[in-house]
């Protein structure tokens, strides 16, 4: 008991030292005179809003970079670190603090780990004590001499196994094994005596309980027969069933409730829950099994849904099947054009047109690149006029005609919408 108390005291000491270190660490960090050190001290306590589990100090994202610059500016302006932290909290909420303030729900984050550790230690201590108690010699239970004698005969091999129940047989075998171990020198005399007394007591108890036949509910194989007093009300077993039923019902209802809200039709290759639950983007689309036509169709759908990354993926896969697929080239061209790569886009359109000289998508895109990004308006008009020579929907025709008219006007007046906006340099 004494050792346990001193161990407890030592543990408390260690915990206090650790807590002290934790409290002192940020203070020591903020103590640096250097502006950069102070900035880092503040930034390392803030959560980067666009990363997973990185501080503003550690993140390389553009936003974190700007936040660090902001902190630096504010420090220069004479703001205190806690004022700066308060500023970020007022914009992003408590979420932005890597260590929540010990108030309200945030207090849980500070208290629960300690409580958990205490509970774990307590649980471990309790379990250890129970184990040590269990291995101690059993309390003296009066073992009827007759039963004991019968067991000893059985162990010595005098009793036929057939007359023993399975449980009794088990005890007898354990005793025989114990004796063998003792003979082989694996057990000390003291241990042997202790264990033998224990096993014999158990075996005798088993013998007794089998002799007083099944009037009781079968008890779990305890060493001493339980003389359970008559109970009132339903037995614990009924309660167990009821509780399990209630739990299963609740669980089923919860599953039904959450699943119906969370599961939705998923697109090819997407995860079951998708971003509805986890907030993560869809998994890389599994496109290996799709044929060319489906790939193109999916790519077009992704483009319509503004999911350009997936669209690129589908079209690239399509080009792996057929390196000169015109629609894929033209669609990639449109994406490249949007992404600000006019020269690559133009190449893509030209590849598409090489295979299919009248592909509307490619003609339209080529005109767009030439007109908007390269200033080669005359060539753009030529591409669009080829397009207009084809069978187009009324809406498309109007759009192309309008673009051609605008391009002509630009050639005539050399004014473009872009030039109406006053150029401003950063």
């Amino acid at each position: 008991m004494n050792t346990a108390r001193s161990a407890r005291r030592r543990l408390a000491g260690i915990l206090m030292v650790l807590a002290g270190l934790l409290l002192l660490a940020p203070a020591a960090g903020a103590g640096g005179d250097d502006l950069e050190d102070q900035m880092r001290a503040v930034a390392s306590g803030l959560r980067c809003p666009v990363c997973q589990n990185l501080s503003v100090a550690d993140s390389t994202s553009e936003l974190a970079l700007e936040m660090r610059a902001l902190i630096r500016d504010q420090l220069r302006a004479g703001k205190r670190p806690d004022e700066i932290r308060a500023y970020f909290v007022s914009k992003y909420g408590e979420w932005i603090l890597l260590s929540p303030t010990p108030r309200g729900v945030g207090l849980l984050a500070w208290v629960l780990p300690g409580l958990g550790a205490l509970a774990g230690l307590g649980g471990a201590a309790w379990t250890l004590r129970r184990w040590s108690r269990r291995s101690a010699p059993p309390p003296d239970v009066p073992v009827p001499g007759a039963a004991l004698a019968r067991i000893r005969t059985a162990v010595a091999g005098g009793d036929l196994p057939g007359t023993l129940s399975a449980e009794e047989l088990r005890h007898v075998e354990a005793l025989q094994e114990l004796e063998l171990d003792h003979h082989a020198g694996k057990l000390s005399d003291r241990d042997y005596a202790e264990l033998r007394a224990l096993y014999e007591a158990r075996a005798a108890a088993a013998l007794l309980s089998s002799e007083t036949p099944r009037r009781r509910a079968p008890a779990e194989g305890g060493p001493v027969p339980r003389h359970a007093p008559g109970r009132r009300g339903p037995s614990p077993r009924v309660w167990r069933w009821v509780a399990s039923g209630v739990f299963l019902l609740g669980f089923g209802m919860a599953v039904g409730f959450f699943l119906s809200g969370a599961v939705r039709a998923r697109d090819e290759g997407g995860s079951i829950t998708g971003d509805a639950l986890t907030g993560t983007g869809d998994a890389a689309a599994r496109t290996d099994s799709l044929d060319l036509r489906t790939l193109l169709e999916r790519g077009r759908q992704a483009m319509d849904g503004q999911d350009l990354r997936r669209a690129i993926d589908f079209f690239t896969r399509a080009l792996e099947r057929d390196p000169e697929e015109p629609t894929a080239h033209a669609s990639l061209g449109l994406i490249l054009q949007r992404g600000g790569h006019p020269d690559k886009a133009l190449k893509a359109f030209d590849r598409a047109l090489a295979r299919e000289p009248s592909l509307p998508q490619a003609l339209w895109g080529k005109g767009l690149v030439l007109h908007e990004s390269m200033g080669r308006t005359a060539e753009a008009i030529r591409a669009w006029e080829t397009l207009l020579a084809q069978d187009l929907s009324r809406e498309d025709r109007e759009r192309v005609t309008a673009m051609v008219a605008e391009a002509r006007a630009r050639i005539a007046g050399r004014t473009s919408p872009a030039e109406n906006v006053a150029p401003v340099t950063r």
């Binding site: 809003p49 997973q52 553009e62 936003l63 700007e66 914009k91 309660w239 739990f247 503004q306 401003v424």
Partner: protein, 188 residues
């Protein structure tokens, strides 16, 4: 014994599962804004046409404040709806103001031209305005009532009907308790 086990299951297991299940329903990236219902942070911004604009000058009108970037697909998705809503509401006491962030200026201008945007757009060079509004995803939209109070915040692409409904609420001075959410991209 049975009671102990039951206690273990219901006292520890069930709450633990409940907490984990609740965690799965949350988007860990989502940051609830503390700004809703408060006065909008003031700012001055340089517009794409070279003029300067102060938010304070817009007091007395409902402001539709939209943070966007040309590289963000949901921003492209909502661009036409925003322009259409602007045309629909410009006769009312409503101002649309876009704030371009984390972007190249030429790309931003290209975006404005591509979608034929006619409402005012500011260029937030250092992203200080965005940080001041606690922006973390893009697009993000704030609606301010006539007194300059934030009545609604939406993360992600917006549709015309939502814009209309929320502008009407702001014109009446009603504050939405909940943030809206559409498809968004995390900013960089």
């Amino acid at each position: 014994m049975a009671w102990k086990r039951l206690l273990l299951v219901f006292g520890i297991g069930a709450p633990l599962i409940a907490v984990l299940a609740f965690g799965f329903t949350r988007d860990p990236r989502e940051i609830a804004s503390p700004l809703i219902g408060r006065q909008a942070p003031p700012f001055d911004v340089r517009l794409a046409d070279g003029r300067a604009l102060a938010l304070a000058d817009l007091r007395g009108r409902v402001v539709f404040l939209n943070f966007w970037a040309s590289w963000c697909p949901p921003c492209r998705a909502e661009a036409r709806a925003l322009e259409a809503s602007w045309r629909r509401h410009r006769e009312q006491e409503v101002v649309f103001l876009g704030v371009n962030m984390q972007d190249r200026e030429d790309a931003a201008r290209e975006f404005l031209r591509e979608f034929g945007i006619t409402y005012a757009n500011g260029l937030d060079g250092g992203n200080r305005i965005a940080i001041d509004y606690g922006v973390w995803g893009i697009p993000e939209t704030f609606i301010l009532d006539r007194t300059g109070r934030i009545t609604y915040k939406h993360v992600g692409a917006l549709g015309g009907e939502t814009i209309h409904a929320k502008l009407e609420e702001a014109l009446r001075g009603e504050v939405s308790r909940l943030e809206g959410k559409g498809e968004y991209r995390s900013i960089r």
